[in-house]
């Protein structure tokens, strides 16, 4: 019988500091490359890994690199002060950690094809969107208009700036901050004005939402006013996770398991859940 809890040792190939409390970790297999599926992808954007540091525990992280990249997988971790992220942030290049997964469903990419796409994310909700961006950029012709709305606390909390520059060639990016600093020309908060900046055909558009705080704002001020129905808004939900395989019960919301049925849900699928 396969032991579903047995983690795999991986090596940290690179660590990049993205902001005062966020780091990117590039993970490499000890032998060979990550296995790809029939679509040549190592994971589906929004799928996650349970990343572990021996002695400290495991936590879920969305895969942030291109799903087509087989030689490494990137994760982005904010130091929340929790055991795992604190331990991760103390590690250096070359250290060994563990992974299990990828777990979860990921975005329904086939359903997205041929449609306009609006991605709303905030703070540390960027990793799964980064993977989706890489997918979109690689398959740009399959999509109509594509927008990324990305909110952060302050300009310096905007992560993956060099990637944003690269993506900007193919898609439209709208950055917003909660608190502007001198020199900031972008938006402040998710504002109703954004609706006018986004030119999409709502009848054939889909939206994604990630990250905790700004979600409600993005939903009420931008996505719904744009005319995108809740059925076509895909949320990457966040919950406590321990097992990743639908057993331990920590991640449930209503009758769903975020680790198995999610993390991506139609918004109308989970917004009526009692919890």
């Amino acid at each position: 019988m396969k032991n579903i809890y047995l983690p795999e040792q991986v090596k940290i190939e690179k660590i990049e500091t993205l902001s005062s409390d966020v780091k990117l970790f590039r993970l490499k297999k000890k032998l060979g490359k990550f296995k790809a599926d029939k679509n040549k992808m190592v994971f589906t954007p929004a799928q996650f890994l349970l990343v572990g540091v021996w002695g400290y525990g495991e936590s879920p992280f969305g895969c942030a690199s291109s799903p087509y990249e087989r030689s490494f997988v990137d994760i982005v971790a904010r130091n929340t002060g929790g055991r795992v992220t604190s331990a991760l942030h103390k590690l250096e290049k070359g250290a060994e950690i563990t992974v299990r997964g990828p777990f979860g469903n990921g975005f329904p990419l086939e359903f997205f094809e041929g449609k306009d796409l609006v991605m709303a994310t905030g703070g540390c909700g960027i990793p799964p969107i980064a993977a989706l961006m890489e997918y979109v950029v690689k398959n740009r012709k399959k999509f109509g208009e594509v927008y990324l709305l990305y909110g952060a606390r302050s300009p310096e909390d905007i992560l993956m700036k060099s990637d944003l520059k690269r993506w900007e060639k193919d898609i439209k990016i709208i950055l917003t901050v909660d608190k502007a600093t001198p020199g900031w020309n972008g938006c402040v908060g998710f504002v109703p004005d954004m609706v006018n900046m986004i030119k999409i055909d709502a009848r054939r558009a889909v939206a994604t939402m990630c990250g905790p705080g700004p979600m409600t704002n993005a939903l009420e001020k931008v996505l719904r006013p744009l005319g995108i129905s809740d059925r076509r808004i895909f949320v990457s939900a966040e919950r406590k996770m321990q097992c990743g395989v639908g057993k331990c019960q920590h991640c449930t919301t209503g009758d769903k398991y975020v680790c198995m049925d999610g993390p991506v849900f139609n918004f109308d699928e989970i917004d009526k859940n009692w919890d």
Partner: protein
């Protein structure tokens, strides 16, 4: 029909104990029933009503080491297969619970640590009440046919091998006497026959009768005892530790309880089940709504443990009867 005399049950267990560990329900000195190694703690009680902890503790212990990692070798050390053992004397409701727990642990993928111990075990049920069902996964069922005798129903090779014991005799005719159902939690037992109604009523009650949950949240201490004593509660958390010399790291998994404050709390502080009302409701929601949707039945066998051991005196039978009554008034 193979039959064993009631007075030989303990001898059969003793015979089995010559080859492996045998766990039996015993009456402890303080009067509490527990599953214990034969001969270690009080005499066996094959007509027990409830034990303190359910038999799940043998397959899914309160705390177990799952992995040991050697930091120098950078390797997970090989784990040792559990010792073979016999669980002898499970009553009807505990038998039903174990069969259901097997089913739960199989999905979506088999739980390695649970089935390691399940495979190492031989389970003999002793059923003293009317019971028309075979229980797949149990190795041998000894069902009471009259005051003195039990008939044998083997359900596996392991079970059949026990029947070679000298204590079984073949009888063409036996005086059968129908044993009445146990009187424990009769109303809940009846409700469990209609798990769909229970699902609908519990699901409705959160918004339909919030005062029920407000009231229960005031009573409930949030201690988690109901989940620990429940034979069908199986949520867990994973704990990581380092040895003092820093050379070895261990992972263990331990029972958790969805009623405890940190159960749905994530690093960074957000708690998805902030109030005790949410957490206590979640316990029912899992058993009667999510569990039903996943497996087609309520995750409860009316064993009576949560009723007996709740320090706040909450009676789950009364709660469910009340919810169902309120729900049916609407219709």
């Amino acid at each position: 029909m193979l039959v064993i005399n009631k007075k030989n049950l303990e001898d059969l267990a003793k015979d089995l104990a010559k080859k492996s560990l045998v766990f039996v329900p015993v009456e402890r000195q303080d009067g509490e029933r527990v599953f214990s190694i034969l001969g270690e703690e009080g005499g066996p009680d094959f007509e027990y009503s409830t034990t303190l902890l359910p038999a799940k503790e043998l397959f899914f212990p309160p705390k177990e080491k799952t992995f040991v990692f050697d930091k120098k070798k950078k390797k997970v050390l090989p784990s040792f297969a559990p010792e073979k053992f016999v669980l002898f004397g499970l009553n009807l409701r505990d038998t039903e619970a174990l069969v259901q727990l097997d089913e739960i642990m199989k999905k979506p993928k088999p739980d390695y640590f649970y089935f390691q111990k399940r495979d190492a075990s031989t389970v003999v049920s002793i059923i003293n009440v009317a019971d028309p069902l075979p229980h797949v996964g149990i190795d041998l069922i000894l069902e009471k046919v009259n005051e003195k005798e039990y008939k044998a129903l083997p359900l596996s090779d392991k079970g059949r091998s026990i029947l070679r014991s000298k204590f079984f005799e073949n009888k063409e005719k036996i005086k059968a006497k129908v044993n009445p159902e146990s009187k424990k939690m009769p109303k809940l037992r009846k409700l469990l026959l209609d798990p769909e109604l229970l699902k609908d009523a519990v699901e409705w009650s959160w918004k339909g009768k919030p005062e029920i949950w407000d009231g229960l949240a005031k009573k409930c201490l949030g201690c988690g005892v109901c989940t620990y004593v429940c034979p069908l509660c199986y949520c867990f958390s994973i704990e990581d530790r380092c040895s003092l010399d820093g050379e070895k790291c261990t992972k263990s998994r331990e029972w958790d309880a969805c009623t405890l404050p940190g159960f749905a709390k994530i690093a960074g502080g957000h708690n998805f089940h902030k109030s005790l009302k949410e957490r206590y409701y979640n316990w029912y929601y899992h058993k009667f709504v999510r569990g039903y949707k996943e497996f087609g039945k309520s995750q409860c066998v009316a064993c009576g443990r949560c009723q007996k051991y709740c320090p706040a005196g909450i009676d789950i039978e009364k709660v469910l009867v009340e919810i169902v009554n309120q729900y049916q008034k609407l219709k």
